[in-house]
């Protein structure tokens, strides 16, 4: 039986053509979508998806266009969406970082109003787009739950009004006021201090630097009449000699120096030039590990090294020598260095990290003889980041001790912790009636303050900086203050004038003067906006200085070398002076050399370890300068048997849960002579105590086992043959006629490869440029929400970093004659050839035969996911959680992962990281920032926070790739080369990492892949990684006598 049908119209009944046409679509009338979306303004023929993309992009474009404006200065609730804030669109603000030690001009990335990443500012002549690990990590310090939250009086919360009233009353009646700060590079703060002193004539300003450069300042005062640190041009120097000077790590302006230094290390066929770097040092530093030649000496022999170098150069150049005991390091290193320096006159540079003015005068004398002033040393733009004179600090301590000071104002300084005189200061401060403290935390010094007026974090404040003469930069807040804090400059002005002022207005005041001085043709508003947008301002500066130092007097005043055991104090790349010690990213960042996290330790030589029967982690008691600590030891090659190293920055007691109780405080060991602080100690006693601490090392095997993972050659060989050291593996393949033919591994296929028709993302890493500083590790952690797992888990070898820097030592055992069988291409016979080879020991089985633990070579190799074309991880995943993208990426689908870990086992590079626990919820990992509400704010919303039980790894910052592609698509073109940068690449001070599309023949990475030095690690297993390395070239060549 037919089913009854009802019809709505005759049309339906008849199925007329009109009816059919009308009912064909969802709507009876044609929607004008096409027209709307193909308007000329958009120029796109778009479907619904494209419409959404365009929609998103117009938002982002509008936002980016609006970026030039300063951010809102008051907190605005999100019910009223601020114009600049568009969900999912990042805003960038230029700002400045200065912690009293390190300066950086930065770009702050904010999302939905919260800063999530700090990078170097491209426009800054100092940062040049790069940022150190500490600058990278500074964004996390903003969200430190243990920052000071309110103004306090003796530990009790009071209101700002009360605090201001009481402090002003005390200041008015004070007979002697001392304002203590680090070097002030902010013109606005300087003006505020000047005004403060004007209002309170009994006030004096004392500045000090945690790691003092007072020696340089005094020496330059004596030699040039200028108590400043000049600019050093490492890029202009062909021969660089560093004497206990970690200029790539921590000295003065390391990021800037690394940028310059690496320019002459990125050797290429077009520019076959390589600087020569000789380092004399007491313990292995980052700089020393990058040197072409390296010699060791004891810390107190510093004067001898410099004086002898002076004399050798003087006798070569015909200048007068000074009186100094003859001294030479092993291998006649001083003699050789002198010859090379003289040969490179005008393109030579000698730097010393000493805080002894006499040493620095001699160094000035050397540079004078070498003609470095005006060529490699520039007096036109001296640094203002080091202004602290040790003597004035000592004066303050004496005054306080004598009870002559009523009010001490601590402006973001922590003298009790960070000075060797800390204990004395603590004692002396007890005699000061009122201590006003501006520190951002209730730290060791702030705990003693009568009034605590907590300062903003720099990402919350307005400010400015003049790190070098004529180079200015602005700080602008990227977020409203999180806690009830106040910019310390505002506090100071309030104390001075009694009126509440805004730092913003103060700043504009200072800068209107600067505007006039700069001679800018723009009006002030335009000038202000452009400077705020760019973050930096350069005004012309000039200046020369002529040397008038008394080297003979300096030589006679040198510190005497001691005979006994000595301690060398150093800063780590991670914690530095320790002011950011409560930053878990920094605590978990492996030290480039020791690969140790979450601790400081006494570095000892192998010889000493054998003598005292010590192994890594054994406790020793270290006694020197009336101070002693118990600390674990760590055997580090490259230092003498009677020299020990200990990092400062640890042993905090009031910094927060991540820092307190980690390591020991090393500052009190520093030798103070007449107030001058020397980061060393003589007459050290080290005794084994029997205790043991497991050190959290991320790498426990320190040699490369003779494997061809890091390829290297010498400059001499490179000049002869550009592919020197780059021996590529071949596989003998049987041909049809039965003969064998050598083939490159990539030509052998067992399955059809992937096709990359569009992009093919790849990365090239220049091992000659990479200094191993580790900034990339923290940058990656910030970009990709990499969890912090804590010391215990690192000990279990479960650190989560997506990029690591492998460090291998090879022990130099001199030269030996080796007989090798070589294939003679003409006769097709094997022939015996004798070669003189350098016997670098790299194998565990040869350890026993190591003669010399001091003379070592170090290589650094950044390793992240290689995004293999034939990825071993992809084939083994049972659920297809890791797959190959059309653009050559190994995609990791966290949601799909069941956690078999087969992929990690099958990864030859061991770059995959597993979420063993729920790091963002399990209470054991309370140090992981994402465990607190505040810490969660640092998470990058573009990157998933991985749950327990899934695998994760480097994705080449796929979120950035997608962002860059969308932007390019909108512009209707391919992404420009260099427009998409991975986080590691962006922050790299050495520009060692180049990322891009190898399918683009004009791209930098394509060119580097074609470079003669380019190679794939483990090429023979034919996984075809998308990361290529460039052979390391050491400049072993030395000038013949």
């Amino acid at each position: 039986m037919d089913i009854k049908k009802y019809w709505k119209s005759y049309g339906e009944l008849e199925q007329t053509p009109e009816y059919l046409q009308e009912t064909a679509g969802e709507f009876s009338e044609e929607l004008p979508l096409e027209e709307v979306l193909t308007e000329n303004t958009l120029g796109l023929s778009a479907n619904r998806r494209d419409f959404l993309k365009v929609f998103g992009f117009s938002l982002s474009a509008a936002t980016l266009a609006a970026c030039t404006d300063a951010p809102v200065r008051k907190a605005i609730p999100f019910v009223e969406m601020p114009e600049q804030l568009s969900p999912s669109i990042a805003n960038y603000f230029a700002s400045s970082y200065f912690d009293g030690h390190e300066y950086a001009s930065v770009l702050v990335k904010t999302r939905e109003g919260r800063p999530i990443k700090v990078d170097g500012n491209n426009l800054s002549p100092i940062s040049k787009g790069a940022a150190s690990a500490r600058v990278q990590a500074s964004v996390l310090s903003l969200y430190d739950t243990q920052r000071a939250k309110d103004p306090m009086k003796k530990g009790q919360v009071i209101s700002w009004d009360e605090l201001d009233k009481e402090v002003m009353a005390l200041l008015a009646s004070a007979k002697s006021i001392r304002l203590v700060s680090h070097s002030i590079i902010s013109p606005t703060a300087q003006a505020a201090i000047t005004n403060f002193i004007g209002k309170y004539p009994t006030a004096r300003h004392i500045s000090y630097d945690t790691v003092s450069a007072s020696g340089i300042l005094e020496a330059n005062q004596a030699s040039f009449g200028k108590p400043l640190v000049p600019s050093y041009k490492f890029d202009a120097a062909d021969v660089i000699v560093g004497i206990n000077c970690d200029f790539l790590g921590n000295w003065i302006s390391p990021v800037e120096f690394t940028k310059d230094y690496s320019k002459n290390r990125r050797i290429s066929a077009e520019n076959p030039k390589l600087s020569r770097h000789i380092q004399f040092e007491s313990m292995l530093s980052l700089t020393g590990s990058n040197a072409d030649s390296r010699s060791v000496f004891k810390p107190t022999q510093e004067g001898l090294v410099v004086a002898n170098l002076y004399n050798k150069i003087a006798s070569l150049t015909g200048a007068a020598t000074v009186n100094a005991e003859a001294f030479e390091v092993a291998g006649k290193g001083i003699e050789a260095a002198a010859r090379e320096l003289v040969a490179a006159k005008g393109k030579a540079l000698v730097v010393s990290g000493s805080n002894d003015a006499n040493v620095q005068i001699l160094v000035n004398g050397i540079n004078q003889m070498l003609g470095s002033y005006g060529t490699t040393i520039d007096w036109s733009r001296p640094y203002l980041t080091r202004q602290g004179m040790d003597a004035s600090l000592q004066g303050l301590i004496d005054e306080m001790k004598a009870g002559q000071v009523d009010v001490v104002i601590l402006a973001d300084v922590n003298p009790i912790y960070e000075l060797p005189q800390g204990a004395a200061i603590k004692e002396a401060m007890a005699k000061v009636a009122t201590v006003v403290c501006f520190n951002g935390k209730v730290d060791e010094s702030a705990a003693l303050a009568t009034y605590h007026a907590p300062n903003h974090h720099y990402l919350e404040s307005w400010g400015d900086a003049q790190p070098k003469v004529g180079i200015y930069s602005l700080s602008q807040p990227a977020i409203s203050p999180i806690f009830n804090t106040r910019n310390w400059v505002e506090s100071l002005v309030k104390f001075t004038t009694g009126n509440a002022v805004d730092a913003y207005d103060l700043l504009r005041g200072t800068w209107s003067a600067l505007h006039r001085a700069s001679g800018s043709v723009m009006g002030f508003e335009a000038f202000w906006r452009s400077t705020l947008h760019n973050g930096v301002l350069e005004v012309s500066a000039s200046g020369t200085a002529s040397f008038a130092g008394n080297v003979a007097a300096a030589a006679s005043g040198l510190m005497k070398a001691s005979a006994g055991e000595e301690l060398f104090l150093y800063e780590k790349l991670s914690l530095g002076t320790g002011n950011q010690a409560n930053n878990p990213w920094l605590q978990e960042m492996p030290d480039p050399l020791t690969r140790c996290t979450w601790d400081n330790y006494l570095t000892i030589s192998k010889k000493f370890a054998d003598q005292q029967n010590l192994k890594d982690g054994d406790h020793v008691k270290v006694e020197a300068n009336g101070y002693s600590v118990e600390v674990p030891v760590l055997i580090l090659p490259g230092q003498m048997a009677n020299v020990f190293g200990l990092a400062v920055g640890y042993g905090r007691t009031a910094a927060g849960k991540a820092a307190d109780g980690v390591g020991v405080n090393a500052y009190p060991f520093a030798t103070v002579v007449g107030g001058k602080r020397h980061m060393m100690a003589a007459g050290v006693k080290v005794t084994k105590t029997g205790g043991f601490t497991q050190l959290a090392l991320t790498q426990t095997h320190h040699t490369i086992e003779g494997r061809d993972l890091v390829k290297e050659t010498t400059f001499e060989e490179y000049l002869k043959n550009k592919t020197a050291g780059n021996i590529r593996p071949h596989i003998a393949v049987r041909q049809e006629d039965g003969s064998f033919k050598k083939q490159a591994p990539a030509t052998i296929k067992i399955w059809e490869g992937h096709e990359y028709n569009g992009h093919k993302w790849a990365m090239a890493i220049d091992l000659n440029a990479c200094t191993g500083c580790g900034a990339c590790v923290v940058a990656c952690q910030a970009e990709n929400n990499v969890p912090v797992v804590g010391k215990d888990e690192v000990i279990r070898r479960r650190e989560m970093h997506w990029i690591r820097i492998d460090r291998y030592f090879s022990y130099d055992n001199g030269y030996a004659v080796e007989t090798k069988l070589e294939h003679n291409e003409e006769t097709h016979k094997a022939e015996k050839h004798q070669h003189v080879v350098k016997t670098g020991i790299t194998k565990e089985k040869d350890y026993a035969s190591i003669k010399d633990y001091e003379n070592i070579d170090v290589v650094f190799q950044p390793v992240m996911c290689m995004q293999c074309n034939n990825a071993p991880c992809e084939t083994v995943c049972p659920v297809l959680a890791t797959t190959h993208s059309e653009e050559g990426l190994n995609q990791m689908t966290y949601n799909r992962c069941v956690g078999t870990r087969y992929c990690a086992n099958n990864c030859p590079y061991k770059v995959r990281r597993f979420n063993w626990f729920n790091y963002f919820h399990n209470e054991k990992f309370y140090l992981n920032p994402s465990q607190t509400d505040l810490g969660k704010m640092v998470l990058n919303p573009d990157v998933t926070v991985r749950s327990r039980g899934v695998m994760e790894k480097c994705t080449f910052c796929v979120q950035r790739i997608q962002g860059g592609k969308l932007e390019a698509k909108r512009a209707g073109k391919r992404p420009e080369d260099g427009a998409i940068k991975t986080a590691c690449q962006q922050t790299c001070p050495a520009d060692a990492i180049v990322f891009g599309d190898v399918n683009d023949v004009n791209s930098e990475v394509h060119k580097l892949f074609k470079n003669e030095r380019s190679y794939a690690m483990l090429e023979e297993i034919n996984v075809q990684p998308s990361v290529n390395y460039l052979v390391k070239v050491r400049n072993r060549k030395s000038v013949q006598a």
Partner: protein, 468 residues
């Protein structure tokens, strides 16, 4: 009726009859549990509780409670998995391959060997499930139609093959074992009363002992035996692919499939021996599980042990011959690296001890056999540990080299997995006949000591029958 030469060793010693056999085997099922059973069960159950506790802790906290790390991502978990799978090998071999080869001596041991197989596979199967980071979604490893879009499994992954191999093996073994049990359950049903009668009645699927039933039984047994035979080879072959198809030196080896299969039979027989030596004593089944049975199994251990030993030596030779430095290092590191003790334990237990079975005296010395079987079990556990951990802990990049040691959770899970195994085994021994009653009865008239003596007498042959 087949004719057995009187020269063959008897498979049943002493005087026996069909009734006697039924009584002997069904007796323990019907009687109250013995004191020894109760103690044994209590200990096993305690260990099972430890297992459950550890597993609960693991599931609650995460795989991080184990000692694994970024370099060694598999440790005791997969070691134990392969160990248990290996143990589960003898059951199928005895029931299927020996059935097809008409090896009648299998009748006394096949039932418990099969049960052992199933329980061992249960223990093994728990590891891939529990080792996963997110076990609650492990079913994504099955090619199920799903609501997640076109998500499918990766047929390239040996782990997926594993899932198929193990589940097939488990289901076929279970069916084979159960089908074999049906006539015996019916026997118990017929002797039981009350509730037991009902339960065994249901379990016996209405077996009536008719000629038709027997005929179908025989056919099904043969079909299942035919199905199972390739599984004996396939399961461990596929398990070995987990390693053999990888790029890790020490794993990437074509020798793995035969070597793993031999090793599995080796360890499976060792475990069968360990259990049977205890069971025949505890359950007084010496006349059914005779020294001849043990002797034959010792020979299989010796042969498979020698295969395994040759494989070890071949691996070393090939590592040297390949001239691949990573491969060479992997093997030198096995023998002389930080885990040397594991390697030499393996070599001693697996290569040296089975060679003792060349001696007939030792093959018939129960204590010696028992000790050697334990040694083989230990050695085979170490073999898996050596392959997995020592290959992983030092692979290509020395920067990532790491050491691995288990935590209490891994140890208690391993100890606890024996609890699971023995709890199941004790329950089996109490509630089901540990020897195939029907099958043993088929050899009474051909291979029992009594019958052989009769035949000999009838044929006038002087037979030196041994009475051990």
């Amino acid at each position: 009726m087949t004719y057995e030469s009187p020269l063959r060793r008897p498979l049943i010693t002493g005087k026996t009859s069909y009734k006697q056999i039924t009584d002997d085997i069904a007796g323990p099922v019907e009687a109250k549990p013995t004191k020894w059973w109760t103690y044994g069960f209590a200990v096993s159950f305690a260990a099972l509780c430890l297992y459950l506790f550890s597993v609960g802790y693991l599931l609650f906290t995460g795989v991080g409670v184990w000692g694994l790390n970024k370099t060694v991502d598999w440790g005791w978990d997969i070691t134990n998995f392969v160990f248990w799978v290996g143990i589960g090998h003898a059951g199928t071999l005895i029931s299927a391959v020996l059935l097809l080869f008409r090896q009648k001596w299998r009748t006394a041991v096949n039932r418990s060997a099969e049960a052992m197989t199933i329980f061992a596979v249960v223990c093994a199967g728990m590891y891939p499930l529990l080792h996963a980071g997110r076990p609650w979604v492990i079913y994504w490893g099955l090619p199920l139609p799903n609501t997640f879009g076109s998500l499918w499994v990766n047929f390239n992954s040996p782990l997926l093959w594993d899932i198929f191999a193990i589940s097939t093996y488990f289901s076929v073994s279970l069916v084979f074992w159960y089908v074999g049990l049906i006539p015996d359950i019916a026997t118990i049903r017929d002797r039981a009363t009350g509730l037991s009668k009902t339960i065994y009645g249901v379990l016996s699927f209405g077996w009536n002992g008719s000629a038709k039933a027997w005929s179908r039984f025989e056919v099904v047994s043969l079909i299942l035996a035919g199905l199972s035979t390739p599984l004996v080879l396939s399961v461990h072959t596929i398990v070995s692919f987990d390693f053999a198809t990888s790029v890790i030196p020490g794993w990437h080896t074509t020798i793995f499939p035969p070597y793993f299969v031999a090793g599995a039979i080796f360890s499976g027989f060792a475990m069968v021996l360990t259990l049977l030596i205890i069971a025949r004593k505890a359950m007084r089944l010496e006349h059914l599980i005779t020294l001849n049975h043990i002797d034959v199994m010792c020979k299989i251990i010796m042969v498979t042990g020698s295969i395994v030993g040759s494989a070890y030596i071949t691996e070393f030779f090939i590592a040297w011959y390949s001239a691949v430095e990573y491969e060479r290092y992997a093997f030198i590191n096995r023998a002389f690296g930080p885990y040397w003790w594991a390697y030499w334990s393996m070599m001693t237990c697996n290569v040296i001890t089975p060679q003792l079975f060349w001696s007939r005296k030792l093959r018939r010395n129960l204590l010696a056999v028992f000790i050697i079987s334990i040694f083989v079990n230990i050695g085979m556990w170490f073999e898996r540990f050596v392959i997995i951990v020592t290959s992983l802990h030092r692979d290509y990049l020395p920067s990532s080299w790491a050491m691995y040691s288990p935590t209490w959770v891994e140890i208690s899970m391993f100890v606890g997995s024996f609890g699971l195994f023995f709890t199941l085994f004790f329950l089996f021994a109490k509630f089901l006949p540990v020897i195939a009653i029907a099958e043993v009865k088929t050899v009474v008239k051909t291979s029992s000591e009594e019958f052989i003596a009769e035949t000999a007498k009838k044929d006038g042959i002087q037979v030196p029958i041994e009475v051990d």
